[in-house]
Structure formats: structure tokens, C-alpha cells
Subunit: 223 residues, 2 copies
């Protein structure tokens, strides 16, 4: 059975890569910077995205979000408060988003969902393992790690951090009660992904958002 | 391709259920209470298990642990400090433990790994999705949720909490800085799994461990 599983898995990933390639062309043609946010459940992806959307909207940028969850539309409701267009994707038990789901939801959303957008954020299902294998056509994959999770997570989930283009440390306001070892965390992230951009943030206090927003603007200008 | 995936997945889970059935008989014959600990990455499974092993050993009970991770043997090293026998299972990228891995590691561990044991704890890979489908022959599945993750997690990952026999809230010492909404968390857990046993704990202060250890002793006596 193992050989069949490996073959089928390769087939699934190959098909996903092909669909992701089509999506990537679509994003490029529309001039939208697309980011895929991945992390453990409860790392603060939604709070981070909430503040990012709010701050971007304030500066006049056009941003939207696709939000993946196994069940519920809680996150889409929270994000919609920012005023940005948001669409929930319920995976109904599937542990990751894939390129087919993204394409389908983009098609169903509006006639021209990417038209006029500067940024599209995809909030993946909370899972530090499976989403790492599925390209969504994004230009930037962002791995989030909260100070409450322990500094060893990049070493224990290397594929996710190795495939990321940027890392965001979240919940910095809790660093002290969590006895967060900053140097250790940075060292572990860089051990898995040398040269990666790292942002140290708190969605509550706004710490680190200046640097994060400047990075977004700079990456957006590269299109 | 979807039909083939569904069929193959059913085949894998059926095979796993058969192997889990064999393991369950093996545990019962040896008179060992086996628990499967599941949670997000960074929920504090290892710290919780560390204290549980230490406290059990102090009372003269015989406990051991199998620890699953994608990579590293950090957790096994941490747990071994308790004095209990511990064995690391590296899944090398697989997002969950399965019954075959458990059987294989039990066989390789020692000639009679379960002999004389009162408790065997299996610490699963940190993942709130995939491990829910894989029976490891355990009698008690324990879902852990830290106060840092947000009270909505049971609703967003219903399969995991629905398949659990007990829920453990961890990191209670961080409840205040995290503005943890206790009533909301308890309500959400019970909505998904009515009547479930819930333990509110801190592995740092020891809060809630009296009740947890009493529960273990009581479940052990049921064999």
C-alpha cells in the first residue's frame, strides 16, 4: 500500500503545483501581491491579519483576504470588521488549503475578484505540517510563531519554516510572562531558513508593524 | 482522482483500525492504561507529561512514554529527566502517529516493553487535525488546549475535541495576561463533546494536577 500512497501523493502534489502555477500567473497579471499565512492553531494569524488589513486600508491600499478553516466562519467575521473584502473557505475536515480551493473561491467570489487589489492575504488552516506541501501560487509564504509556543518549533517543524519567505513572531506583549527566549527563537528560525526576514510583532500593541508594513510595500513595488 | 483518494484513505484508516485493535488487546492483557495526548504544537504537551510522569513516579506508579515528532529528539530528552522510560518516534514529515508506528516501536523497544507498566502515555505530533483519524489503541484520548490559543479552538477543530475522552486546559498561570475567557472555553469544549471530563492545569505551578492524577488512578483501577 505504501508505494500506492507515495505515487498518489506525488500525483496530488503535481496537480496542485500545476494549478498553483496558473494562479501565480493570474496574480501577476492582476498585479496583486499574494501572501500565504501559515502557523499552528492559536498563533494569532487572525489578529495579525486583522491589524494588517486595518493599517493597509488606512493608508489607502486595497487588500482582501481568503480565510481557511475546518469549520466555522468566525475568522471571516472578525476580519470583515476591518472593512476589507473577506471570504471564508471551509475545508470540512481537510487539514490544509490547496490551489484548487483557492481557484474555485476566487471564481465564485465576484466577477473580477483580483481587479484593483494591491494585496491578497490567504490565511491557511492552523497546522504546522500539511500546508507546507501545498503551493497556493503565493509570492510570499509567511510562517507565524507566537512567543507562547516555545522557541524550538522551527526545529520540530522544519519543512514549514524552511519553505517560508518571511517569519513573524507574534504576541510579543506576552514575551515576559512566557519567559520567551528571543535569541534562541531567532537562532532556530535562521538555522532552518538562513537569511529569512523576521518581524517581531504584537497585534495588540502594534509593535513591529511599521517594519512589516514597509516590507509589504517594498515587496508590492517589485511586481 | 478524488474517488481514488477517498478509497485509498478509507483503506489506510481501515488497516490502522485493525492494527489498533491488536494493540488494544495487547495493552489490556498487559494491564496498562494507555493514553494518547493530542494538541496544537506548543500547547504544552511535553511540560504536562513531564510533570505527570514525575508525580506518578513519586507515588510509586510505573509509567512510560512514546513521543512523536516530525524531527528532533528534544522531547524524549526532556521527558527522560523524569526517570521514566521514554522512546522517541520520528515521523520524518508525517503529520500524525499511526498504529503501525506504535507497534513497531513497542517491538523494538525492549523484549517486554509493557511488562510491569501501569501507564503508557503517547505524545502525538503537534497537530489539531490529522491525529484525530488515527486510533492508536489507546483507552483515553486527551485533547490539550492552552489558555494562549483562544477559546474558539474546539469549535474550529471539532473532530479532535469530539473524539477526545478528556480535555486538559494548560498554562493556567498565563490565563490573566492572555485574558483567557474560562467560561467561554468550557462552554465550547462541552458544546463539541458533552459530558467530557475537563482538567484545568498549570504544569508550572502544579494547579489541577491533584484532580488529573486522581482521574488517572481511577481509570487505571477500571482495567
Amino acid at each position: 500500500m505504501t508505494t500506492r500512497i507515495v505515487e498518489l501523493r506525488q500525483g496530488i502534489l503535481k496537480k496542485n503545483d500545476e494549478l498553483a502555477h496558473v494562479l501565480r500567473d493570474r496574480y501577476t497579471q492582476a498585479g496583486v501581491l499574494v501572501l500565504n499565512l501559515v502557523s499552528s492553531p492559536g498563533s494569532g494569524k487572525t489578529a495579525f491579519l486583522e491589524r494588517t488589513l486595518r493599517e493597509l486600508t488606512t493608508t489607502g491600499a486595497k487588500a482582501a483576504a481568503l480565510v481557511g478553516d475546518l469549520e466555522t466562519d468566525n475568522d471571516a467575521k472578525r476580519l470583515a470588521a476591518s472593512g476589507a473584502p473577506v471570504r471564508q473557505i471551509n475545508t470540512h475536515g481537510t487539514c490544509h488549503l490547496d490551489a484548487e480551493m483557492i481557484g474555485k473561491h476566487l471564481d465564485e467570489w465576484t466577477a473580477r475578484p483580483l481587479a484593483g487589489l494591491d494585496y491578497l492575504f490567504i490565511e491557511n488552516v492552523g497546522n504546522l505540517v500539511c500546508p507546507s506541501s501545498y503551493d497556493l501560487g503565493e509570492r510570499i509564504r509567511v510562517a507565524l510563531l507566537s512567543v507562547t509556543e516555545g522557541e524550538d518549533k522551527p526545529l520540530k517543524y522544519p519543512t514549514m519554516f524552511n519553505s517560508a519567505d518571511a517569519a513573524v513572531i507574534t504576541k510579543l506583549d506576552l514575551a515576559e510572562p512566557c519567559e520567551f527566549q528571543r535569541d534562541e527563537a531567532l537562532k532556530n528560525i535562521r538555522e532552518i531558513r538562513p537569511g529569512i526576514e523576521i518581524f517581531e510583532t504584537s497585534s495588540k500593541t502594534g509593535a513591529g508593524f511599521d517594519g512589516w508594513l514597509a516590507y509589504l510595500k517594498q515587496e508590492r513595488a517589485k511586481r
